[in-house]
């Protein structure tokens, strides 16, 4: 009994500790956070402006790969050459694409997303679809561009000082096959005093399956100005074009110009950097009706006026459509040319080189100087847009 009693006292004292040791277990802790870099371009409202942007690319010998817009291709080439001259350790290699003029905006975004290229060139900002798949993509404006509407009417004789005038609804009907000849009453109504030929209308559109920034801009203009087009076709980098016999699909801006120059009666949408090429090929460029009902050619002043009305409203990620904007003296199809980059770079040296190069491109007196932009009819970025672009560049790491 005494032995049992002694044992009992010991057990009574030790029981809590022994049972705690036997019964204690851990608790799982769950938690989820946003993906790293997700929505980096949207900025941080708590820390606007991000971090510093290096002015030089560092000393590492690097080759940065570019892929994308045919509209930006030639300018990117001159930027690449000039940058290499200033920083010989940095080489920027452009993807020539099937025609040696670039791979197209859609392919550029794709190549950056899949890390086949460091910098994409795009005429259109990223879509939600792009960001669903790669939430750390950024679209950084490099310059202001515009889109002209070319036509080829060899028999047309314009009175001095007159330009052929077109508006959204008329262009929409031409692309839908409702206006079949150039002397249609609807076109004539816009061009009083001009004798229009009865040449059949041949609408040209881009045929890249990966999508085209130029198609996005043009169909945006048609959707903004014509309810029927908006509800039946809509806008996008790739759309279901109305199936009409006279329509033709072409590849790249150069393909559009070349095809138009051998197709009397053609109408084609072409990026402003091909203005001189189109003029040399004998194509005319139409004046387009803006939101206020005024007609404008894609002149530097009309392009800058159109952009200026949006500057103060531009969001931090610089995703903004400026099609058919409110400026009464603005050209209706204007846009930013974008660099597409991933915010999260695998290598700090590459990140630094990309940041320094993009900063050089958007800086007045460097890549954004008239000596580079004038050759392709682009306009420099307004200072407020440069500031936002630098804030986005600073998100690259």
């Amino acid at each position: 009994v005494a032995l049992r009693f002694r044992s009992l006292l010991v057990v009574t004292a030790m029981a809590p500790l022994a049972l705690v040791t036997a019964c204690t277990g851990g608790q799982p802790v769950a938690g989820q956070t946003a993906a790293p870099g997700a929505g980096a371009g949207l900025g941080s409202p708590l820390n606007p402006g991000g971090g510093p942007v290096p002015s030089s690319p560092g000393s590492a010998r690097l080759t940065l790969k570019e892929s994308g817009s045919t509209l930006l291709f030639s300018l990117f080439g001159t930027w690449a050459t000039a940058y290499h001259q200033q920083y010989p350790n940095i080489t920027i290699k452009l993807a020539p694409g099937p025609l040696g003029k670039g791979t197209g905006s859609g392919q550029g975004i794709e190549d950056v997303s899949t890390k086949k290229a460091n910098i994409g060139a795009s005429d259109a900002f990223l879509s939600s679809g792009n960001l669903v798949q790669h939430s750390d993509l950024l679209n950084i404006p490099l310059a202001i561009s515009a889109q002209q509407v070319n036509y080829y009417l060899p028999s047309l004789r314009l009175p001095p000082g007159k330009r052929l005038q077109l508006d959204g609804p008329v262009l929409a009907e031409m692309y839908q096959g409702k206006i079949k000849k150039w002397n249609d009453q609807a076109i004539q109504a816009l061009n009083k005093g001009i004798s229009l030929p009865s040449t059949p209308v041949h609408p040209l559109h881009r045929g890249e399956t990966t999508g085209s920034g130029d198609t996005f801009l043009f169909t945006s203009y048609l959707s903004a100005t014509d309810l029927a087009w908006n509800s039946q076709v809509g806008f996008g980098a790739a759309v279901s074009w109305p199936n009409i016999a006279s329509a033709q699909a072409e590849t790249g801006n150069s393909g559009m110009v070349t095809a138009c120059s051998v197709t009397p009666g053609c109408v084609a949408y072409v990026g402003i950097s091909y203005l001189k090429t189109a003029q040399d090929a004998g194509l005319g460029e139409a004046s387009l009706q803006n939101f206020s009902g005024n007609y404008y050619q894609p002149t530097p002043s009309a392009i800058s006026a159109a952009v200026s009305s949006f500057v103060s409203d531009t969001p931090a990620d610089e995703t903004i459509s400026m099609i058919n904007g409110p400026a009464p003296n603005g050209y209706p199809i204007v846009n930013y040319e974008y660099a597409i980059v991933l915010a999260d770079q695998p290598n700090p040296a590459v990140a630094r080189a990309i940041k320094a190069f993009l900063n050089w491109v958007i800086t007045k007196g460097k890549g954004n100087s008239p000596s580079f932009l004038n050759s392709v009819q682009f306009q420099p970025l307004p200072p407020a847009i440069v500031k936002l672009a630098d804030a986005q560049i600073s998100e690259i790491k």
Partner: protein, 484 residues
């Protein structure tokens, strides 16, 4: 060895005469002579008059009868100390469980519901407003009110989460801050989108709508999801604390050990003194038995109620909430597919992924299948209806993603007529809301019952410990007094 404890002048069950009693008391009070053989008399008293429990045990084991007063003192000290320690420990353990159960019923589940509702309302606001954008320049008043009600509800849930966050983790605080900062910006972008749209600048309105949706999908919803995940983990942790066995089992075993010690002490006294009942120790024993029964019944009942509430209420409600979230994301895929107009099939792929997670489907483990297995009563009926309507919704969404047919897609996404994607989606969401509400009611009823089962138990434990201490002290001190 047991035989040595028998007094030489008595036999078991024999009544002592008055003279014999006096003589026996004299023997007991007389210190034993060193020359007397062991086992015949009590051990000599220690000069200090006190023995440690270990020494008492050793004395008993080594000397047979030993010094009875010293042993009595040791037992008194040991039992009172054990009862005191047990009382403090058991009261703490009961308080831990009762507090956790109360937190589950009143706070944790409420915060989890708030986080889950905030996610749903944010997601619904985005789908509502993007759908309105697709509808054209003028946003119908009803749609605008729906959007504003969603945002107001999300802000109220955010306030609930903020007020209930207490000493929250850095991650929780960061997620709260993220929602607080981005929600007004989201609303601002939506406002700009509608302003440009109304003014006739639809492409600009569309791009602002896209930015708003990006804020929603890349900033707000991940932060809201993180809050929900953290609240959900917190609920799991508190629930485990409320239903965990460790401390209650320790308290029960500890009490049983004290009860055993009381029993042995009474037997030992009975053999020493031939008194059948020591009332003090008997009351202490009754208190041990009563509190053992109360503790076991209350805890078993509370654990059963809480687990029932979690298993058949909270868990299926969370499964259904997840199904609702996936359904909203799939609906967002439909809408964004039309808005972005890229021709990309990524939205279709995401929609299909969501559909396979929502269910019903051939594979097990879908959210609806999990909820169906766990729900009961009205909740189970609601899940069956939701499964039926989910199938109908999937059937009408097939044409939505057909290649670049924007006119057709828009009609499907916006069409309000019976059988359209919009109508079917709303029907599914209504089913899910009703089923979630039924499951939440199941949880609340069970969790409240579970929490109530601990009512008064802490007081009972303290009272029992006091009775054990007083009873032991009184019962043993009376015996001890007989030696003075």
């Amino acid at each position: 060895m047991t035989a040595t404890h028998q007094p030489p002048t008595s036999q078991p069950g024999q009544q002592l005469s008055g003279q014999q009693t006096v003589a026996r008391q004299a023997v007991i009070r007389q210190p034993a002579e060193p020359s007397q053989p062991p086992g015949q008399h009590a051990a000599p008293r220690q000069p200090s008059g006190r023995l440690s429990l270990r020494a008492a045990g050793a004395r008993l084991a080594g000397s047979g009868t030993g010094g009875t007063p010293a042993v009595l003192r040791s037992l008194l000290t040991g039992l009172v100390a054990a009862a005191l320690v047990w009382g403090v420990f058991a009261a703490w353990a009961v308080d831990q469980h009762a507090s956790a159960a109360s937190q589950v019923a009143n706070a944790s589940e409420r915060l989890t519901f708030a986080a889950q509702e905030m996610y749903q309302k944010l997601s619904d606001a985005d789908v509502t407003v993007t759908t309105a954008y697709l509808a054209g320049a003028s946003v119908p008043l009803g749609v605008r009110q729906h959007y504003e009600a969603d945002i107001a509800r999300a802000e109220a849930d955010l306030a609930t989460l903020r007020s209930g966050s207490g000493s929250a983790s850095a991650q929780f605080t960061a997620s709260l801050t993220s929602v607080s900062v981005w929600l007004p910006l989201y609303d601002e972008f939506v406002g700009k989108a509608q302003a440009y749209n109304s003014a006739g600048h639809q492409p600009t309105g569309g791009s602002f709508m896209q930015v708003a949706s990006e804020v929603m999908h890349l900033k707000l919803l991940p932060a809201a999801n993180s809050l929900y995940a953290q609240e959900s983990a917190s609920l799991g942790s508190v629930s485990a604390q409320a239903t965990g066995l460790t401390w209650i089992v320790v308290a029960l075993v500890f009490a049983a050990a004290i009860g055993f010690a009381l029993l042995r002490t009474q037997r030992w006294l009975h053999r020493r003194t031939h008194r059948r009942v020591n009332y003090g120790l008997a009351w202490a024993s009754v208190a041990v038995i009563a509190i053992l029964a109360w503790l076991a019944i209350a805890f078993t009942s509370a654990r059963s109620d809480l687990e029932n509430g979690l298993r058949h209420g909270s868990t299926p409600a969370q499964d259904l909430a997840q199904a609702s979230t996936f359904a909203q994301r799939a609906r967002g895929d439909e809408v964004l597919n039309v808005i972005s107009r890229t021709g990309s099939m990524s939205f279709k792929a995401d929609f299909d992924a969501m559909r396979h997670m929502i269910g019903p489907g051939p594979k097990p483990g879908t959210q609806l299948a999990l909820a169906a297995a766990a729900s009961s009563g009205q909740g189970a009926t609601g899940v069956v209806t939701a499964e039926w309507d989910a199938r109908s919704w999937y059937a009408v969404t097939e044409p939505v993603f057909s290649a670049t047919n924007y006119a057709g897609e828009t009609e499907h996404v916006l069409g309000k007529e019976r059988g359209s994607s919009y109508a079917q989606f709303n029907k599914l969401q209504a089913d899910l809301r009703l089923a979630i509400k039924a499951d939440q009611a199941t949880f609340t009823a069970s969790a409240t019952a579970g929490s109530d089962a601990f009512g008064g138990l802490e007081f009972g434990v303290i009272l029992a410990a006091l009775v054990m201490m007083v009873g032991s002290a009184w019962g043993l001190s009376r015996r001890l007094a007989e030696y003075r």
